[in-house]
C-alpha cells in the first residue's frame, strides 16, 4: 500500500506542492522540495559512508570527478541522461492516458537488440548517415511494438499494463541474453582475444556522430535528438489535440468513447510511443557509446527512467531535470566505486531516498491542501 500511495501521490500532476499560502513563497515548493530532498538524501549517503569507515572527502572527490571531473566524464554523464530522459518522456506520455508503463527496461533491451541487429546486418553500408538513422529507427520500432503489445492487451483484453509491461521486460531481457549467447544470432565468433557472450562491434557508419570529436568527450548527437524529443513531447502533451485526447481517454474512457474518441486506438498509441521512446533510448546506448550488445546493457536504466518520469509529475521539463540528476549521480557512483572503493549501492540508496522524500512530502502537502 505504501508503494501505491507513493505512486499515486506522485502521479497527481497538479495540486501537489502549490498549496496556496503554505509559506515558502520566495522559492516555489516545486523547486524547493526536490532540491532539499536531494541534499538530504546525499547527506544521508555521506553519513552512511562515514559510519562504515569510508573517507568522506575521498568519496566526494571521486564522486565529483566521476560526474563532471573531465570533458569525458561530463559527456558520459550526459549520455546516460539521454537514455534516462527518453524513458522518462515515454513514461509521462503513457501516463497522460493514465497508463503506467513500468516496462522501460524491456523496451530499452528490445531497442538496443534490434538496433544492433540492423547495424550489424545491412545498415552498415547505407550512405548519408542513413546507417545510424535506420539502426536507430529499428530500435525505436522494436520498443514501440513491445509497448504497443501491452497497449493492445490493455485496450482489447483489459490486462493491467503495469503487470504486462513488467512481464514483457522479463521476456525481453532473456531475449537479449539469448541473442548474445547464440552464434546463430548476434554473438561474435570466439577468437583468441575474446570469448565473452557479446555481439561484434557495430560498423563505424552506424555509430552516432560525436558532438565534440576533438576534445575526447563521448557526447553524441543523441543529445540533440533528446532535446527535440523533449520539445515535441512537451508540445504534444500541452498544446496538441492528441495530448487532449490522450488525457480525456485516461481520465474517463466511457465518456471519451461516448464523445466519439477511438479509445482503444489512443491506448495502443500511447503505449507504442512510450515504448518507442524507450527503444530509442536503448538504441542510442548501443549506437552512441557502447557499440556492441551485451546481455545486461540495459541494467537499471529502465527503472531509473521510470523514477525520472514519476518524479517529473507529468512535466517534460521535470523529466529533463530528473534525467540530468540521475545521469550524473550514476556516473559519479560508478567512479566512486572504482577509485574510492565505496559501493555504488550507497548512491542507489540515495536515489531511493530522494524518491521517498519527494513522494512523502507530496503526500504531506496534499493532505495539507485538502484540510
Amino acid at each position: 500500500m505504501s508503494m501505491s500511495k507513493l505512486v499515486l501521490a506522485m502521479k497527481r500532476p497538479k495540486s501537489m506542492f502549490g498549496a496556496p499560502g503554505a509559506g515558502f513563497n520566495l522559492v516555489p515548493l516545486q523547486v524547493l522540495v526536490p532540491v532539499l530532498s536531494t541534499l538530504i538524501a546525499l547527506g544521508i549517503g555521506l553519513l552512511i559512508i562515514a559510519s562504515t569507515g569510508g573517507s568522506v572527502s575521498e568519496a566526494i572527490a571521486a564522486f565529483w570527478d566521476g560526474m563532471a571531473g573531465s570533458d569525458y566524464n561530463i559527456g558520459a554523464s550526459l549520455n546516460r541522461a539521454i537514455t534516462l530522459g527518453l524513458v522518462g518522456l515515454g513514461f509521462i506520455f503513457a501516463n497522460r492516458a493514465n497508463l503506467t508503463n513500468v516496462g522501460g527496461e524491456g523496451q530499452i533491451a528490445m531497442g538496443g537488440m534490434f538496433a544492433t541487429a540492423v547495424a550489424l546486418h545491412g545498415a552498415g553500408n547505407l550512405p548519408f548517415g542513413l546507417a545510424f538513422i535506420v539502426s536507430m529507427a529499428a530500435g525505436a520500432t522494436a520498443g514501440a511494438l513491445w509497448g504497443a503489445l501491452a497497449g493492445y492487451l490493455k485496450a482489447k483484453r483489459g490486462t493491467n499494463e503495469v503487470i504486462s509491461t513488467l512481464l514483457l521486460s522479463f521476456i525481453a531481457l532473456p531475449l537479449v541474453y539469448w541473442s548474445v549467447e547464440s552464434f546463430h544470432l548476434l554473438r561474435k565468433p570466439i577468437s583468441d582475444l575474446s570469448s565473452l557472450p557479446e555481439s561484434p562491434e557495430i560498423p563505424d557508419t552506424t555509430k552516432l556522430p560525436l558532438l565534440f570529436p576533438d576534445n575526447g568527450s563521448p557526447l553524441h548527437i543523441g543529445l540533440l535528438l533528446a532535446i527535440v524529443a523533449v520539445v515535441v513531447i512537451w508540445l504534444v502533451l500541452k498544446h496538441s489535440t492528441l495530448g487532449l485526447r490522450l488525457r480525456a481517454v485516461g481520465l474517463n474512457e466511457t465518456a471519451s468513447r461516448r464523445a466519439g474518441l477511438r479509445t482503444s486506438f489512443y491506448i495502443i498509441l500511447a503505449m507504442a510511443v512510450s515504448g518507442g521512446l524507450g527503444g530509442l533510448g536503448g538504441a542510442i546506448m548501443i549506437l552512441g557509446q557502447q557499440f556492441y550488445l551485451t546481455s545486461d546493457f540495459s541494467s537499471g536504466y529502465g527503472f531509473d527512467g521510470l523514477v525520472v518520469g514519476l518524479l517529473s509529475r507529468g512535466s517534460a521539463v521535470g523529466v529533463v531535470i530528473g534525467a540530468l540528476l540521475f545521469g550524473f549521480l550514476r556516473s559519479g557512483s560508478i567512479n566512486m566505486e572504482i577509485t574510492a572503493h565505496i559501493p555504488s549501492a550507497v548512491v542507489l540508496i540515495c536515489q531511493g531516498l530522494i524518491v521517498i522524500i519527494i513522494a512523502g512530502s507530496a503526500i504531506l502537502t496534499n493532505r495539507k491542501s485538502n484540510r
Binding site: 498544446h239 496538441s240 488525457r247 480525456a248 466511457t254 471519451s256 468513447r257 461516448r258
Partner: protein, 526 residues
C-alpha cells in the same frame, strides 16, 4: 434543551465561504429538514456535525456537552450517524458482512448482527435479507442497509443527506415513514432535501439555507410552503410554472386531475403511432440481453415523431439504463433495429450515432457525459476536439470564444470557460452537457435520461426550458425519468416500461398518476 445546539458556525474553503455564522438547535424527537439550492451549504453543515470537516469558528453542543468531532468515528461514538448521498458499501460482500465492517471486534459474530437486524426489522420495518450480496440489491434496499448500519449502535441523531434523490416514489414513502418512526422513539433526524413535498409530509421544522446563511427556520404546522420556496431561491416562483411545482413535488394540482380510468389506447392498441414515415427515431423489436444472459429489453418498439417529447415512466431497473446505453452506442442490442431519420444505426459507433443527429444526455453525468477533471471548454467540445486545431495544435483562443458564446446562449455559469468541470455546480454541469448535445449539427433526436437528477430548482427550470424549446424547434425527445410528476408536466406522451417492455401509453391530457403507477408496477389491466 435542544439535543444539538449549533452556534455561530463558520466554514470556509479557500476564499469561498460555505457556511456563514450558522446558529441552529435540533430538538429531541424532531425531523428537521434542511432546504436549499445546490451549494447553499446543506452538505457542508452535515459534514461539520458528522466530523468530516471541522468548523473554522463557532461551537457545537450535543446534549449540553461540547462536540468537536475530529472525524466521523468520534461523531458516531457520540451517537451521531449519517447516511451520505453516495453509499459506502462493499458491493461484493453480503449485507451482514457489510454491517460487521468497522464495528466487529477481534471475533466476528454474525449471529449478533442478524439478531440486531431482526430487532430493527420489527421496530422500524427495515427488512433486508442479511445473506444477500449488496450488488444484488436495488438502490432503495442499499439505502436501507445504510440506515440499518446507522441504527446498529442506537444513535441519538441521524443525518440523511439527500436520501430521496435516488429513490422511487414508494421507497420515498417508506423512508419518510422510517423517519417518523425514529422520532417517535425519541431520536432526531436531520433531513437534507430540495423537494418541498417531502418536507410537507415529514418535517417538524425546516431551516432554509441560501449561500451559506440561514434564511429562516419555520415550524411546519400551518406553514406556507410557497414562502419556503421564495426563501430558498430568493425570488418568487410563480413564474416557474407547473414544471417547477411538479419537480419539487408540490401536489398543488393533484385534485385537478382525478383518476379518470385508463386511457383507451392502453388495452392492446399498438404502441407505434400511425404516422410511420417521418418518425425521427424508430426502435423496432429491440432486444437486449446483458452479459449474464438476462433479458433487459424485451421486444421494445417505439417511434418518436418530430416535435414531441415522449416520456418513459418506470421503476428504475426496468431497462431504462440499457436503452440509454444502446442509444448512446455504448452497448449493442442483441437484436432489433434503431432507425434515426431514415438511417439505420445498427452496429454504429458513438461517433456515427452523433453524426446521424442523435444527442444524448446520459443518466450518469459523471461517468458518461463529461470528464470532470477537464475544463468546461474542453467538455463543451469533447466530441469536436479536432474542430479547434491548426496542424494538430489546439487553437485555445478560438475554442474559448466558441465556448463563451455557448455559455451565454445556454446560461452556463462559470467564472471562465477554463475552469475545471468539477468546480461547476451540478446544474451548470448539466446545462453544459445540454449545450453540447443541443448544439450538434445535424440534430434530430435527443435522449434526456434523468436530466434533472440532483439539480436544484433553478437548474431544473432551465433544463426543461431547453428541452421544450428543442421540441418546439422540431426535435424528437425521449425523456427518461423516475420522477412521475416531472414526466407528467413535460411530456406530450408517456410510455410505461416494465421489465424491458413497453406496457402502456398515455396521450397528453389523459395522464393520471394512478394509471401510470399501476402500469409501472406491472398491472397492465387495473
Amino acid at each position: 434543551m435542544a439535543l444539538l445546539e449549533l452556534s455561530h458556525l463558520t466554514k470556509q474553503f479557500g476564499t469561498f465561504t460555505a457556511l456563514d455564522d450558522i446558529s441552529l438547535g435540533i430538538e429531541r424527537g424532531e425531523v428537521h429538514c434542511l432546504l436549499g439550492e445546490n451549494g447553499a451549504g446543506k452538505s457542508t453543515l452535515c459534514n461539520l456535525i458528522f466530523g468530516v470537516h471541522r468548523p473554522d469558528a463557532g461551537t457545537m453542543l450535543l446534549g449540553g456537552a461540547p462536540l468537536h468531532p475530529r472525524g466521523p468515528a468520534e461523531a458516531i461514538e457520540r451517537g451521531i450517524v449519517m447516511v451520505h448521498q453516495h453509499f459506502s458499501l462493499v458491493p461484493n460482500m453480503s449485507v451482514a458482512e457489510n454491517l460487521m465492517l468497522g464495528r466487529a471486534k477481534a471475533v466476528l459474530k454474525p449471529q449478533d448482527i442478524i439478531i440486531r437486524m431482526e430487532q430493527l426489522a420489527a421496530e422500524y420495518g427495515l427488512e433486508v435479507n442479511p445473506q444477500v450480496l449488496i450488488e444484488d440489491l436495488s438502490v432503495g434496499e442499499r439505502q436501507r442497509v445504510e440506515i440499518i448500519k446507522c441504527l446498529l449502535g442506537d444513535p441519538q441523531l441521524l443525518v440523511l443527506d439527500e436520501p430521496t434523490a435516488v429513490l422511487q416514489p414508494d421507497e420515498i414513502d417508506a423512508l419518510l415513514g422510517i423517519c417518523r418512526q425514529l422520532t417517535l422513539r425519541g431520536k432526531s433526524v436531520i433531513l437534507v432535501t430540495h423537494k418541498l413535498g417531502e418536507i410537507g409530509r415529514v418535517a417538524d421544522r425546516t431551516t432554509v439555507l441560501r449561500q451559506g446563511r440561514i434564511i429562516e427556520t419555520v415550524a411546519m404546522e400551518g406553514a406556507d410552503i410557497r414562502s419556503l420556496v421564495r426563501s430558498m431561491v430568493g425570488r418568487d416562483v410563480q413564474s416557474a410554472g407547473s414544471v417547477l411545482a411538479a419537480t419539487i413535488d408540490l401536489e398543488q394540482d393533484a385534485p385537478a386531475h382525478p383518476a379518470t380510468g385508463l386511457p383507451s389506447d392502453v388495452n392492446g392498441a399498438p404502441l407505434v403511432p400511425e404516422a410511420a414515415g417521418d418518425a425521427v427515431l424508430r426502435l423496432s423489436d429491440l432486444v437486449y440481453r446483458d452479459a449474464d444472459g438476462v433479458t433487459k429489453l424485451d421486444n421494445l418498439s417505439l417511434a418518436i415523431n418530430p416535435g414531441e417529447i415522449v416520456g418513459v415512466a418506470g421503476v428504475e431497473g426496468n431497462g431504462q439504463s440499457e436503452l440509454g446505453l444502446i442509444l448512446a452506442g455504448l452497448a449493442s442490442p442483441t437484436s432489433g433495429s434503431i432507425v434515426v431519420g431514415g438511417q439505420s444505426l445498427d452496429g454504429c459507433t458513438p461517433q456515427q450515432i452523433t453524426a446521424a443527429g442523435v444527442g444524448i444526455v446520459p443518466e450518469d453525468r459523471h461517468a458518461v457525459a463529461c470528464i470532470k477533471e477537464l475544463s468546461l471548454a474542453e467538455n463543451l467540445f469533447l466530441g469536436a476536439i479536432g474542430k479547434f486545431s491548426r496542424f494538430g495544435l489546439l487553437d485555445k483562443s478560438g475554442r474559448r470564444k466558441a465556448a463563451e458564446a455557448m455559455m451565454r446562449e445556454f446560461d452556463v455559469r462559470a467564472s471562465s470557460s477554463d475552469v475545471a468541470m468539477s468546480s461547476l455546480s451540478g446544474g451548470n454541469q448539466q446545462k453544459a452537457v445540454l449545450a453540447r448535445e443541443l448544439s450538434l449539427d445535424p440534430l434530430v433526436f435527443l435522449l434526456a435520461a434523468q436530466p434533472t437528477r440532483g439539480l436544484d430548482v433553478g437548474a431544473i427550470e432551465a433544463v426543461y426550458g431547453r428541452i421544450r424549446a428543442a421540441r418546439d424547434a422540431g426535435l424528437g425527445v425521449l425523456l427518461v425519468s423516475s420522477e412521475l410528476e416531472e414526466l407528467m408536466a413535460v411530456s406530450d406522451r408517456i410510455v410505461v416500461i416494465y421489465r424491458g417492455r413497453l406496457v402502456g401509453e398515455l396521450a397528453a391530457g389523459s395522464f393520471s398518476r394512478e394509471a401510470i403507477g399501476a402500469m409501472m408496477s406491472g398491472h397492465e389491466h387495473v
